[in-house]
């Protein structure tokens, strides 16, 4: 089995601060991590490889320092890291990112074997769009399984996979043909601690580094800022709510009276609740 996992290096949001004046994220000096959602996909990929044999290739697009994220993925046990880095990629939105990644995945397929599964994180913690995974699936014409809670069975021989997908109102059990694209739900597994041989291999591994041209991308207008129709018009910090807490009743009031006063107060402010409640009770 050849499995490709798409990861992203993101600023550690637990340690991020917003500039008090400009409202922009202060990225300087903030440590970077692998997008936490990607780790569930990576671990699932490693488990499938361990069960069925094959290779896991990890790919990321980003600045040269994103190599650290790939090296870390190798420490966990991935077999190969591919870094897509080029100034033409700067400023990519999800459309341009999925284009570049899809192109590189095709190239990886040509060089290292067609992928049976492409994994992506459910979403990133810095962009939160959840669009890049599905975008890649669409571009590569892969069947897509999003919000997967569990891979129940995989059969590379029959080219089939069965998963449990968390959906509104319940869990879907889905079976589909390979190749496909999967995004894993958080909490679906726990990332392993890489073995010493893996860690040693990762520390010395050669990371495959590709420019746009190396990835076989000819149409640069689809990359980076030029290929990104999304525009951030304005960034602002949410303003604090003006409403202040109000005191209801007096000290010494009976709890029952307090409750009555409170409900009166709520219904006066929000008459819609009263209307909805009377409508419900009349049913």
């Amino acid at each position: 089995m050849h499995i490709i996992v798409c990861i992203k290096q993101v600023p550690d949001s637990a340690q991020i601060r917003v500039h008090p004046v400009t409202n922009t994220i202060m990225r300087q000096g903030v440590p970077t991590i692998i997008n936490p959602y990607d780790l569930f996909s990576l671990e699932e990929a490693l488990r499938l490889r361990d069960q069925h044999g094959g290779e896991v290739t990890v790919i990321t697009m980003g600045p040269p320092m994103a190599e650290d994220a790939l090296r870390k993925a190798l420490t966990f046990g991935a077999d190969r890291g591919v870094l897509l880095t080029d100034r033409y990629f700067a400023g990519s939105d999800t459309l341009a990112t999925s284009f570049a990644l899809a192109s590189a995945i095709e190239k990886i397929g040509q060089l290292y074997g067609r992928p049976d599964i492409v994994f992506a994180g459910k979403q990133t913690i810095d962009g939160d769009t959840a669009q890049v995974g599905p975008g890649i699936a669409k571009r590569l014409d892969l069947l897509q399984l999003t919000y997967v809670a569990k891979v129940s069975a995989a059969d590379p021989g029959k080219s089939e996979i069965t998963v449990e997908r968390r959906a509104e109102g319940g869990t879907q059990i889905l079976k589909t043909r390979l190749p496909c694209l999967i995004t894993m739900l958080e909490g679906s597994n726990e990332m392993r601690r890489g073995t010493m041989p893996d860690a040693l291999r990762a520390a010395r591994a050669e990371i495959v580094t590709w420019s746009a041209a190396d990835a076989g991308i000819e149409d640069l207008t689809k990359c980076g800022l030029r290929g990104s129709p999304t525009v951030v018009k304005h960034v602002f910090a949410p303003s604090a709510r003006q409403d202040k807490a109000t005191m209801v009743g007096e000290a010494g009031d009976l709890p029952r009276d307090l409750a009555d006063k409170l409900l009166d107060d709520v219904f006066t402010r929000q008459p819609a609740i009263l209307i909805a409640m009377s409508a419900l009770s009349s049913l």
């Binding site: 601690r193 010493m196 041989p197 860690a199």
Partner: protein
């Protein structure tokens, strides 16, 4: 199971570990460096001042790309009571030299840079990997390490223990005792963010010039301790350290002392409108020469804080760490070049070379100082600062009292507080310890 064998395994990626790994790798040895932190520097805490000439001996052109904050042109020593400080300031334009002598640094950044150099020199650096045990053969010789990862036994001719002040490996292996409470200080520090121009204005600096304040006095509540304030490019490092045994005795908390220092009327204006960026705590070896453990053995050497190599009197640590790391590496290289085994007998060369260096010579010179300051901490850190303040104030305050009476009053307050004999004995003992 890893079949591969290394020439040397370096445990730890602080100053001494990086110096050792860099020196070994750049001499062509096959080196594996193991660090428990997420990256080199992530766990490392220091004031921090870096001494250029010791790093020059390892990486001569470090100034080209090392992340340095400010070069120091001014040093202030303060004796403080609760409301005043009596200071000695030394500032010299001579320090605005082409190759400045001392720099403030931020360890998280500096160590990352140093680690990059180590990798470039050819060492394999593995972070997030804790060494749990030394592997020894039947003769007791150290032949490798075990780490907290599956399949984590790995072998080498020699293990360099650069594991820091607490050095659990060396202690567990019986190479040394756990550092005693009276020979380690616990220091806490904060980083305060401040714009470059405000720092320049507040401390009278221009360009990359830096200033250091080191202070002792009543804020330490009579404990053996020191406070510091270092200027970085866009931040101030401020901290207090006292002996662990003193904290235990007085039940004072390190943070309370730091707050006291920060709120001192001489310090508060320097910190006005700053934002605390981070805080950290660290143990510092203060036992001096007498606390140095066995430095080498069959298949191992110990360097830096793990070897308690810290000059508390001159507040130098990282340069001793770097130098011991470098010298250990040079000794190992010499033994290796002769194709001799890494036995205790051969590794003794490390100690011989270290004895010849400033590291041991300086520590030997001040070998009685830690004990003197410790047993007389109430006098040195409480009584004298108070007397000094009173004397200084008496000297500068003009109130119509005849000078002769003022001087008599000052003298008698000193004699009353410490007695003639006490003062003479303190002076004599101090002089002897310094000698």
């Amino acid at each position: 199971m890893i079949e591969e064998k290394f020439d040397a395994i370096v445990v730890g990626a602080g100053m001494s570990g990086n110096a050792a790994a860099y020196t070994l790798a750049s001499r062509g040895l096959k080196v594996l460096q193991l660090e428990r932190g997420e990256y080199a520097g992530s766990k490392n805490v220091q004031g921090a001042i870096m001494y250029a000439s010791m790093l020059e001996k390892i990486i001569p052109d470090f100034r080209e790309d090392a992340p340095l904050e400010r070069h120091l042109v001014e040093q202030r020593f303060w004796m403080m009571d609760d409301t005043s400080h009596t200071g000695m300031h030394y500032r010299s334009d001579d320090f605005n030299e082409e190759r400045p002598n001392r720099y403030t640094i931020i360890r998280a950044q500096f160590d990352k840079w140093f680690s990059r150099k180590v990798k470039q020199a050819g060492a394999t650096v593995l972070c997030e990997t804790t060494v749990t045990e030394l592997i020894r053969n039947t003769e007791g010789r150290v032949i490798g390490v075990k780490v907290d990862r599956a399949g984590g036994a790995i072998f080498a001719d020699v293990v360099v223990l650069a594991e820091g002040v607490n050095g659990l490996l060396g202690t567990r292996a019986g190479f040394r005792e756990t550092p005693k409470a009276e020979s380690v200080a616990l220091a806490v520090k904060e980083m305060h963010f401040l714009p470059e121009e405000v720092i320049a204005q507040r401390f009278g600096l221009s360009g990359n010039e830096g200033c250091v304040i080191e202070a002792a006095g009543t804020f330490s509540q009579g404990m053996t301790g020191l406070a510091f304030l270092y200027t970085n490019r866009e931040s101030i490092s401020i901290g207090v350290g006292c002996l662990v045994s003193d904290y235990a005795r007085t039940m004072e908390s390190p943070y309370a002392l730091l707050e006291q220092f920060k709120n001192h009327p001489s310090v508060r204006p320097l910190l006005k409108d700053t934002e605390v960026k981070e805080y950290a705590a660290h143990l510092i070896p203060e036992g001096g020469y007498k606390a140095i453990p066995q430095l080498y053995g069959d298949g191992w050497v110990v360097v830096g804080d793990a070897a308690q190599l810290n000059n508390a009197v001159h507040r130098e640590g990282s340069n001793l760490a770097m130098t011991s790391g470098r010298i250990a590496a040079e000794a190992i290289f010499q033994v290796k070049s002769r194709r001799d085994p890494m036995t205790a007998e051969n590794l003794r060369l490390y100690k011989t070379m270290l004895d010849e260096s400033f590291v041991i010579k300086d520590l030997k010179k001040h070998k009685d100082m830690p004990a003197l300051l410790h047993t007389n901490s109430q006098n040195f850190f409480m009584t004298y600062p108070q007397l000094m303040s009173a004397a200084a104030q008496n000297f500068v305050r003009v109130d119509g009292t005849p000078k002769i009476e003022k001087e008599k009053a000052t003298l008698s307050s000193i004699v009353k507080a410490r007695s003639r004999f006490g003062m003479v004995s303190d002076a004599v003992r101090l002089a002897f310890a310094w000698r």
